[in-house]
């Protein structure tokens, strides 16, 4: 585990910056046409932890992250098929292997329940101990694909139903179905979702980032479709668009990861920024600090200026 915010003096910081600037200059001479990332407003990196490996506290393909109000971080490792709970200091507190050997999505529900999607199934875990509480039956026998917490409690899930359509389900903290929107994406776009990601903002508007339609779909709290959009350089429908995660902060910004880029879009679809960096799972805490996974590490950033 390493912490970047280490004891480096101001003078050393200046020295590092000069050296890096010179190194960057030398690199730009060697590859003069290399594209430059736009100037960033990503907040300062506060903390990072994680080591590549298969040991209990290590990470292989950590592509999903959630954070609770106490600062505990939950990770889903797709390859190892397990979830881990880390303290705010990056100390491993609990590990659980999922039943289907693959993690596809996870969400922390405010009452202390961790919802985990594993190869089309949805399970509930006690967030503190990661002890399995039970499986959530899908409405109509569909397959669970993605999940996100709702600010007022409970979760929202995206499913593929048996008749090759897609549904959005609202579940309470016990996993009971409150209501289901049938064919929600398909009705708006004409195609069903593939490898979707979902997030909900503070007002209950929800957003589905869909790798099938290459777009982010925005819905109001009642599930009415509002609009679709892409991220900087990739308008809706661009087949080169990739989604690996999505989250929303308290200031009306959607953070969208695209494997090798981290993008910022306003909740109504206006592109803001794009950063060239490996990013997969995304989560935001109550302070609008951003958590980004790059498979073998988790980075925590201060809230940047919008």
């Amino acid at each position: 585990m390493s912490q970047l915010a280490g004891p480096v003096s101001q003078g050393s910081r200046v020295a590092i910056l000069i050296v890096l600037a010179l190194a960057g200059r030398a690199g730009s001479l060697a590859a003069a046409e290399a594209p430059k990332a736009p100037p960033g407003k990503l907040g300062e990196e506060l903390f990072r932890f994680g080591k590549e490996g298969i040991g209990p506290s290590q990470m292989t393909r950590v592509e999903y992250v959630a954070v609770d109000p106490g600062g505990f971080v939950y990770l889903g490792d797709w390859e190892l098929g397990r979830v881990q709970r880390f303290s705010p200091q990056g100390k491993l507190e609990a590990v659980a292997y999922v039943k289907s050997d693959r993690v596809n999505s996870l969400a922390y529900e405010r009452s202390g329940v961790l919802f985990v999607v594993t190869l089309h199934h949805l399970f509930r875990y006690d967030a503190k101990t990661l002890k399995l509480l039970g499986e959530v039956e899908p409405p109509g026998g569909g397959d669970y694909l993605a999940i996100a917490s709702r600010p007022g409690g409970g979760v929202i899930a995206v499913l593929e139903s048996r008749n090759i359509s897609d549904d959005v389900a609202f579940l309470d903290k016990e996993g009971k179905i409150e209501r289901v929107l049938y064919g929600s994406i398909e009705k708006a776009a004409g195609y069903t979702v593939q490898r979707p990601f979902v997030t909900v903002d503070g007002k209950g508007f929800f957003y589905v980032a869909d790798n099938g339609n290459h777009a982010i779909f925005r819905f109001d709290p009642e599930g009415r479709y509002i609009s679709r959009f892409g991220y900087p350089g990739h308008p809706a429908g661009d087949s080169n668009t990739d989604f690996a995660g999505i989250t929303v902060d308290g200031r009306g910004q959607l953070w969208v990861s695209g494997w090798s880029t981290l993008n910022v879009v306003t909740v109504d679809g206006r592109p803001r920024q794009s950063y060239e960096m490996s990013s997969y799972g995304l989560a935001v805490n109550d302070k609008d600090e951003l958590f980004v996974t790059d498979r073998t590490q988790v980075r925590q950033y201060a809230a940047g200026k919008p």
Binding site: G11, I16, A30, I54, G55, R82, V95
Partner: protein
């Protein structure tokens, strides 16, 4: 690193690297020294080098690179009123870094810095433990005389006994990556792998695991489990490490009896796996590091450890006699 002191040097190095990469055609760097018999081609020759065919000696194996395993800590297993470990062949480490050793009738607990913290007796009459492990919840499991006892590690309080439906026969214990332990069990008829949950209940028994796969009696089996939940079993009659899936399905085995580096000699006394895909096996020769995916011999550690354990940071603990040593071990070679 003191960046103030090294800044001019860094600057010079980076500038040189930048100039070299800025479009000026340069020769590639000279090749590293090699043990090859053939002469390298002349600098401007377009002809490939001819291998030396006549009088060529068989290529000697490349000399082993010096090991980068580093001794971090060594401490004596002495516990005040409990005396000093005399025959400690077992070691365990919990997620908080506390280290446990065991010999006849007692378990000693040490801080991560190697200071004695506490100890407890495993009852009368004292028996020689054959297995010792600490799970992720800080529960210490001791296999002794075929029984498997659970203790609260910090206090030494006995929590209970794990009972196999077919009676005593527990032998070796290893931590599971989530919680609970993996235990080997045997009687006169068969050998089992037993998966014990965090609360001491038996989750799964893979019956006749090794003998069922190998067709011969397994005897005392040492076990370990990695982060993929692959089960490793060091089996004395086979002089081999056998690999099983979590389901108990046999996958592979590697090793044989002999004096070559990749062979085993004498009874196995320790088995552990790290998070980087390495297996550590101790026998009469010492501690061998093997690559988990294919059993390839990597190197021999300069330690006389018998009992082995790995912590969350991939440090290796080796117990031998009255001492425990902690090593930062070299990671396995990276794949091309």
């Amino acid at each position: 690193m003191n960046l103030h002191r090294h800044f001019p040097l860094l600057l010079l190095l980076l500038c040189a690297a930048g100039c070299a990469g800025s479009g000026v055609a340069t020769r590639p760097p000279a090749p590293a020294p090699s043990n090859k018999v053939a002469e390298p081609p002349a600098e401007d020759s377009l002809e490939p080098a001819e291998p030396a065919m006549d009088d060529a000696e068989p290529e000697a194996p490349a000399p082993e690179a010096p090991s980068q395993d580093v001794l971090l800590l060594r401490f004596k297993g002495t516990g005040k009123d409990l005396g000093t470990m005399t025959q400690s062949a077992l070691v365990a480490v919990d997620p908080q870094g506390f280290v446990y050793t065991a010999d006849a009738g007692r378990v000693l607990r040490f801080t991560p810095e190697g200071k004695f913290a506490s100890g407890f007796s495993t009852g009368e009459p004292p028996c020689q433990p054959t297995g010792l492990a600490a799970d992720r919840g800080g529960i210490v499991y001791v296999a002794c005389g075929g029984r498997l006892l659970r203790y609260e590690g910090a206090s030494g309080k006995l929590l209970g006994e794990v009972r196999h439906p077919d009676g005593a026969g527990f032998f070796h214990v290893a931590p599971r990556p989530d919680s609970g332990v993996l235990v080997s069990w045997r009687n006169a008829q068969r050998d089992d792998f037993v998966l014990v949950a965090f609360d001491g209940t038996i989750e799964t028994i893979h019956r006749n695991a090794v003998a069922g796969a190998s067709g011969q009696a397994a005897g005392d089996v040492l076990v370990a489990m990695d982060g993929r939940r692959t089960i490793y079993a060091a089996v004395n009659p086979l002089h081999a490490v056998c690999v099983f899936k979590l389901t108990g399905e046999y996958v592979n085995r590697f090793g044989s009896e002999g004096e070559d580096p990749d062979q085993f000699s004498g009874p196995f006394t320790g088995l552990a796996v790290d998070g980087q895909g390495q297996i550590f096996v101790s026998d009469a020769k010492g501690v061998s590091a093997l690559l988990g995916e294919d059993g390839r011999f990597l190197r021999r550690l300069e330690t006389k450890g018998t009992g082995l354990a790995i912590d969350d940071d991939d440090a290796l603990f080796a117990a031998a006699g009255t001492e425990v040593a902690k090593y930062r071990v070299e990671p396995p070679p990276k794949k091309d």
